[in-house]
């Protein structure tokens, strides 16, 4: 695997960074944190339209740019760096990957062009009250045929929780159970029987909602009962995506801490000249570079559609989730008193770090999964006794 960025990918990074420096500075992040929707529709239109971010990985036939996961990772790393308040993870990663993965051509034609051009915000409603991403058996929402629409119509009932951007998405992809197993159904967020309750999130830069469905009219996507293997892959892609975002955030807080340590003077010298501070920052550097390596490996594995994606995803998520939390925590320590104030941005990153560490499985969960894969791998290659 050659982990080298192409010139185009490097150019994309520069373009996105320039754009986000202008559109997502700290003041803007703070303004959006206080709004009801939590994102700026104008910026999203530009991200989708001018930069083509929303359709970056979508095939050209659906209005996308036909790029791979490496490009998406570059965007997410930059988004994480600037704490971009926008529905990238929900719409571009979760919803678009789910639609593509289910292989429902008609649905792709109906929904993906809207996602690509930025007019449709979408999300995946998978988790329920327990907040577990990997527990297929624990999903209790149900889907049933309702006899309308020449027998093609369905209804969904149940309660979903922790739905990313669930308060603003117009298209809800809901995981529900039928006699055949788990399926994904598309529900218009404005349909009768859909009740959305925005939650107050620790990380105000990424919102969640609880959504209750009461016989809400739904459209079955793909084959009934066949959704779980598709969703497992979507969650692996999402783990890699959020890992890239975490790397961006972790690198940013390390930069902040280094800049502060260079300029903050105590005892007549910059605090960065003290070894206690130097060594802390050197350790963060190890964590960030390790995390970046794991995340890039995940991106390249996803882009190449390689069979060890589950392993690469767990490696990335386990590594990056913890590295970000550590970096964000120690950044505050290096900043001292100013670091614990509301006015300083350090807490915004700490909250993003803790919140994103929980998404798509905690590092502890991914370590168990990683061990499972490695043990199985070794058992398979061990010479017969």
């Amino acid at each position: 695997m050659n982990l080298a960025f192409t010139q185009e990918q490097t150019e994309l990074r520069r373009t996105v960074r320039d754009f986000l420096d202008k559109t997502s500075p700290e003041a803007e992040v703070r303004r959006l944190m206080e709004t009801a929707d939590g994102y700026d529709p104008d910026v999203w239109r530009q991200l989708a339209g001018e930069l083509g971010i929303a359709g970056l990985t979508l095939p050209e036939e659906y209005g996308g740019a036909g790029c791979g996961f490496v490009e998406l990772g570059v965007v997410l790393e930059e988004a994480g760096r600037s704490l971009l308040c926008a529905p990238v993870l929900s719409t571009v990663v979760l919803a678009a990957s789910t639609l593509l993965g289910l292989g429902d051509d008609a649905a792709c034609h109906d929904y993906l062009p809207g996602i690509a051009d930025g007019t449709t915000l979408a999300t995946l409603a998978l988790t329920e009250a327990a907040g577990r991403w990997d527990d297929a058996d624990g999903i209790t929402a149900t889907a049933a045929r309702d006899g309308q629409d020449q027998g093609r119509g369905w209804t969904v009932s149940g309660r979903k929780a922790f739905v990313l951007d669930g308060h603003t998405a117009s298209l809800l992809l809901v995981v529900a159970r039928t006699g055949a197993g788990l399926s994904v159904l598309a529900i218009d967020a404005g349909a009768p029987g859909v009740h959305r309750v925005p939650r107050a999130t620790l990380d105000q830069t990424r919102r969640q909602a609880d959504i209750t469905f009461t016989a809400a009219p739904a459209r079955l996507l793909g084959e009934e009962g066949a959704a779980w293997p598709v969703l497992e892959r979507v969650l692996d892609l999402a783990a890699v995506a959020v890992a890239a975002e975490q790397v961006g955030g972790a690198a940013r807080v390390l930069d902040m801490a280094v800049d502060y340590a260079r300029t903050r003077v105590q005892f007549g010298r910059p605090i960065g000249s003290f070894q206690a501070v130097k060594h802390k920052l050197a350790d963060l550097h190890l964590g960030v570079e390790s995390a970046r390596s794991a995340a890039y490996h995940g991106l390249w594995t996803a882009a190449g559609d390689l069979p060890d994606l589950p392993l690469a995803a767990s490696l990335a998520k386990a590594c990056c989730g913890d590295a970000y939390v550590t970096a964000a925590t120690e950044n505050i320590q290096v900043h001292g008193g100013i670091g614990v104030t509301w006015e300083h941005p350090a807490h915004l990153y700490l909250k993003r770090a803790h919140s994103s560490r929980q998404l798509f499985g905690h590092p502890a969960h991914h370590r168990q999964r990683l061990a499972r894969y490695v043990l199985a791998e070794q058992a398979a290659t061990a010479s017969p006794a």
């Binding site: 260079r262 130097k278 550097h285 190890l286 490696l315 370590r367 168990q368």
Partner: protein
């Protein structure tokens, strides 16, 4: 390693043409190893030849002599096959090929478990120093015998009063007729007893000059005035030595770099040592830890699984970081970063093994615990060699992150 020197000859005698593609070269190397590398478990197999412990310095010395003899012979076979020093210039015994060809050979060696590790100083640090600071005459004189497996080298750097603070070296080189006379005490020298030459750092200026008063020399080890005394380590091995120098002689042409350039040479040397430690084939301890847990039947335990996963994460991210560096990613202070990650991995993996082994780790005669006890007792040295973990952190902070000294 960057060699600025002359282009290669058209081809090596009997060997294929220069500048063949990577796949073709890999194929040729694989074929040669398949035909020539000692089979695992055969009488010629020296994959397990590394000196672990000994009851006496004599016993250790015999083991070391054996290890160096098989390493010399293996290096000679590589040389005769045209696989040694691929990237080195022809006048130094090499082939002037691209750097990646050496990496291909090294990877194949690792795959077969054969190693020229006993010659690490000669094969990695000496060329770095001579290409960076030496004269053409020195390269031509010193490098070909290294490639032929004839000369092993060691380093005479640290002293009792100059550990991490190498600028305070006090071993003195005094000018005399035809060269220098060297007197002082060196310590922590690997392979001192079986090396032909040493890279020596000695003081040629005044003490007050600090690092500006240091120079680097190539010292012949077999001569009167050099007394080598083995030091016993916690593992029981006598890997390191004290070297006492009493009017040892270095000829005029043994000065490497200019007079007073010792610090610059030393930095090159230490950077290549760090790269050799942090960039070498990692010991695959995570893979072996997973194997241990399976053998002991505790691989279903969630606590054990967490330890295994942590080791796998450390090992794979280090491999991936090296791959990123090789692919041209900008990683600040790449050398100290990989070296530190490697020594941390070694320490934490040995510690994880003690948890998995339980009481068995209290017995050195337990075959399952023995290799892990070896790692456990080796890890502390890895955190010191090539610059302590603390020095690496300083270097990362100052040169990588730009923090003030």
């Amino acid at each position: 390693m960057q060699h600025s020197s002359a282009p290669a000859p058209g081809s090596t005698a009997g060997g294929p043409a220069q500048f063949e593609g990577r796949a073709q070269f890999e194929g040729r190397v694989r074929e040669w190893f398949g035909a020539n590398a000692p089979r695992k478990g055969s009488p010629e197999d020296f994959s397990a030849v590394h000196v672990v412990s000994a009851r006496s310095p004599q016993e250790y010395h015999e083991q070391e002599e054996h290890a160096i003899t098989v390493t010399r012979a293996w290096q000679r076979r590589l040389f005769d096959a045209g696989l040694a020093g691929r990237s080195w210039p022809a006048e130094c015994g090499g082939h002037g090929a691209p750097d990646w060809q050496d990496e291909v050979v090294a990877a194949e060696q690792a795959r077969w478990g054969v190693s020229t590790k006993m010659f690490a100083v000669a094969l990695e640090m000496v060329p770095a120093v001579l290409f960076g600071h030496g004269t053409h005459e020195q390269r031509v004189a010193y490098l070909p015998p290294v490639l032929r497996g004839e000369h092993g080298w060691c380093q005479l750097l640290s002293e009792p009063g100059a550990g991490s603070d190498l600028a305070s070296v006090s071993t003195r080189a005094t000018p005399m007729d035809g060269g220098w006379s060297v007197t002082g005490q060196k310590v922590w020298t690997s392979n001192a007893g079986c090396s032909d030459y040493a890279l020596l750092i000695a003081r040629t200026g005044s003490r007050e000059e600090g690092r500006a008063g240091l120079s680097c020399f190539a010292l012949k080890m077999e001569q009167p005035g050099i007394d080598i005394r083995p030091l016993r380590q916690m593992s029981g091995a006598y890997h390191f030595n004290e070297v006492f120098l009493d009017n040892a002689f270095v000829p005029e042409n043994g000065l490497i770099g200019g007079l007073g350039d010792g610090w610059a040479v030393l930095r090159t040397m230490l950077a290549s040592e760090r790269a050799a430690i942090g960039g070498g084939t990692s010991a695959r301890s995570a893979t072996q830890l997973v194997g241990l847990a399976r053998q002991l039947g505790c691989s279903d335990d969630p606590g054990v699984r967490d330890l295994l996963a942590q080791a796998v994460i450390r090992e794979r991210t280090l491999d991936l970081l090296r791959a990123r560096i090789a692919a041209g990613h900008t990683v600040p202070a790449a050398g100290p970063t990989t070296k530190l990650l490697y020594s941390e991995h070694a320490r934490l993996s040995a510690d994880a093994a003690t948890t998995i082994l339980g009481m068995a780790v209290t017995l050195v005669d337990d075959p399952q615990s023995a290799p892990w006890i070896e790692r456990l007792l080796f890890a502390p040295g890895l955190r010191l060699g090539g610059g302590t973990d603390e020095i690496q952190r300083n270097t990362i902070a100052e040169r990588g992150l730009g923090l003030p000294r």
